[in-house]
Symmetry: C2
Subunit: 473 residues, 2 copies
Amino acid sequence: MKKQNHCFYTLFALFFFTFTPLSMTTVLGQNSKSNSDEDALFIRKIYDHALTNTSAYPWLYDMCTRIGARLSGSEGAAKAVQYTKQMLDTSGFKTRLQACMVPHWVRGEAEKVMVKTKNGSMPLRVLSIGNSIGTGKKGIEAEVIEVKSLDDVDKLGEKVKGKIVFYNRPMDRTKIQTFEAYGGAGDQRRSGASRAAKYGALAVLVRSLSTELDDRPHTGALVYDENYAKIPAICVSTNDAEKLSKTLQNEPNLKLFMRNTCQMLPDVESHNVIGEIKGSEFPNEVIVIGGHLDSWDPAQGAHDDGAGCMQSMGVLDILKKSGYKPKRTIRCVLFMNEENGLRGGMKYAEEAKANTSETHILALESDAGGFSPRGISFDADPSVFTEKFKKVSAWEDFMKPYGIDFTKGGSGADIGPLKPQKFLMGGLRPDSQRYFDFHHTAFDNIEFVNRRELELGAAAMASLVYLVDKYGL
Amino acid sequence: MKKQNHCFYTLFALFFFTFTPLSMTTVLGQNSKSNSDEDALFIRKIYDHALTNTSAYPWLYDMCTRIGARLSGSEGAAKAVQYTKQMLDTSGFKTRLQACMVPHWVRGEAEKVMVKTKNGSMPLRVLSIGNSIGTGKKGIEAEVIEVKSLDDVDKLGEKVKGKIVFYNRPMDRTKIQTFEAYGGAGDQRRSGASRAAKYGALAVLVRSLSTELDDRPHTGALVYDENYAKIPAICVSTNDAEKLSKTLQNEPNLKLFMRNTCQMLPDVESHNVIGEIKGSEFPNEVIVIGGHLDSWDPAQGAHDDGAGCMQSMGVLDILKKSGYKPKRTIRCVLFMNEENGLRGGMKYAEEAKANTSETHILALESDAGGFSPRGISFDADPSVFTEKFKKVSAWEDFMKPYGIDFTKGGSGADIGPLKPQKFLMGGLRPDSQRYFDFHHTAFDNIEFVNRRELELGAAAMASLVYLVDKYGL
């Protein structure tokens, strides 16, 4: 038994020493500035508060379970505006609502798609694509024709006339960053309807943008090209897309029945929610942190983008609880309508441009899920990017103990319209492997958000904000 | 609407360019050797096969759902030995079973712990600690005394006599690597019973080793110090530990009732499962990859360590499917009894030492969950570590596009006994944030394993094995 004891101790010692402790000296050794110690210690303090003391997760839990889905123009979106403003108010931040008109798309009755095979009808798991028109109450029945791309439709031309076009190009599993695979397949959902309508198709069915084979249909937005007729568009789960494709091999003249009653109602007023800490020395220099408050209707929008909103509110919360008094104005913006219009982002940029008394120096968005953060990627107008990125890169060593790297790359959709204003923009870059299991599905709910992962993202954002606030950019 | 169209395109363009594509040139530019191109391309091929074509996830799914828990000595463990050997056999690898005697601990009837308050009895969510003796069928009732550490017990000394000691020191949430927090709290579960027994305590109740406050009790092993009486030990969920602690503040002389019927039966024979590809040039140089096949009884052991086993089998599978013919012998070892004895690891090391016709050059373990891999940490006997780590570090650039870094640190418990044989040992280092939500609980099941994350871990391991095999170490 002595031998066994020895081995158990070995086992635990191994666990204990498996990971290098994140001591300050690691950081300090790499920075010769006299204030490096102070900054490294303050960033450690930020992480301590984020992991023990921030409200980001409880806020997200509340919003997901009490309000849930928040599609632009919906009652949920209006409630979320009130809820987040109230949380920012009661936390002692200066708040305001920034009005903007938003599209008001409604899904209507549950969508129905049936494959009419020789052996009978087979229902598919589907969700209408956001912004789509409906089929009308009677639905549409037509032959289905499978394609892999928009180019395929161009090649088929008039052959798609009177038919339902079935876009079935999968996301590429071999991409290490799943957003790259999303970028490579998204045109089918976004532009597939108008491309098919160009040649007289009646409707489109689109393979869901998922990295897995499963039974979850994914929604998301389409954009109609005003030059062509608007036709209905529905997404089908990847498993059912595979099944339909196989059935088509045996029955090429297969018919599909589609019915949905979604519609675009007149625009309604909604709001960006803004909360801030006024800068003590340079109140007119603004650092924006944000996410988007709207979310798709089938779920709670926990990862997309409740997580980003609460991480952004969490940055204010953490800085306050850490006792930090910013020199510059730190502004949290919860943008409305990223999902199907980007009106909130455009409104914020428009007013920022018009307000000549303020200068923005950084905008940082979190809109890639509340997963373990792996880095922050930076973007800016090319005329200023090299200089700004060089400056921010000098701080990267502070973030290494927390597994955060600084890279060149995109930032975020909502802050995109600010790009012409020529300052640095960043995007939190969480681990992307799980995102497309949940994104735009009925499964984007709070039980799939890990508290620590969310908090670590908020801490990474708060640390960057601290450095930019303290030293300028 | 033109404006809206523009914004949608911006949005998608942003997604597309958010992450730097992982081109070969990134890698190639950093390596001047003439074979860098070839190696970078082969590693890309390994990742392609891992993400589209490996059996690692289906195997894990099968083992979890058809066999489930695999505690040493159990029927599940015996079935898992047969299942994995069969999978390795039918995949065309050379297999054998390596016999070893293992402890056979059984949990018995469902554990019961009741707090006897003034207002009545309150049940707690508990699991007996592995290797614990039982209370006997009648159970134990005694006053409870709360401590934060083994040192506290030493200070209390005879005051714990006749009592139940309640260890209630939480894991430190501020540790970025959760294994470090585990290392810092694990002594309570491992050694708490004997320390309390030293001063005459009747039993111990231990706060579960979780990073969260939740209702999930965690099991795990204890080691009895043969110098003291064996007393029963049970873990309590973190929420219930908090509740008990609060109740004790009002009622310091509170009594606890504990009952469990677990027991250690005589050792039984079990096996390490070994599958390998014989080296074509240096068959006597061995690269070991492995995980442990045994798992705790309340769940399927999906992350701990079904994931590591299937990633290790996956390495053979991926190398074969990639068309790679190893020069050296690549050996997958599924170790038995890591959880409560480490007998499999000891047996393998003992036989490896005795077999002078073979030399090991690398042992690589995966036993930290099937989460997104972030790196590989390396360890070895100090007399060889610097040289070996320098050599392996030269290949780190090949792994950068896949988000994998090479660090100094621990390797794995099962390969630990090989350390005196003075070769390089590595441990796959997955993101650790979610691990202690599942570890040793009833929730360590296949639905919490993401397929891509598992596959990326197998790919990282296979890539290192490829490089070490090709160039030696």
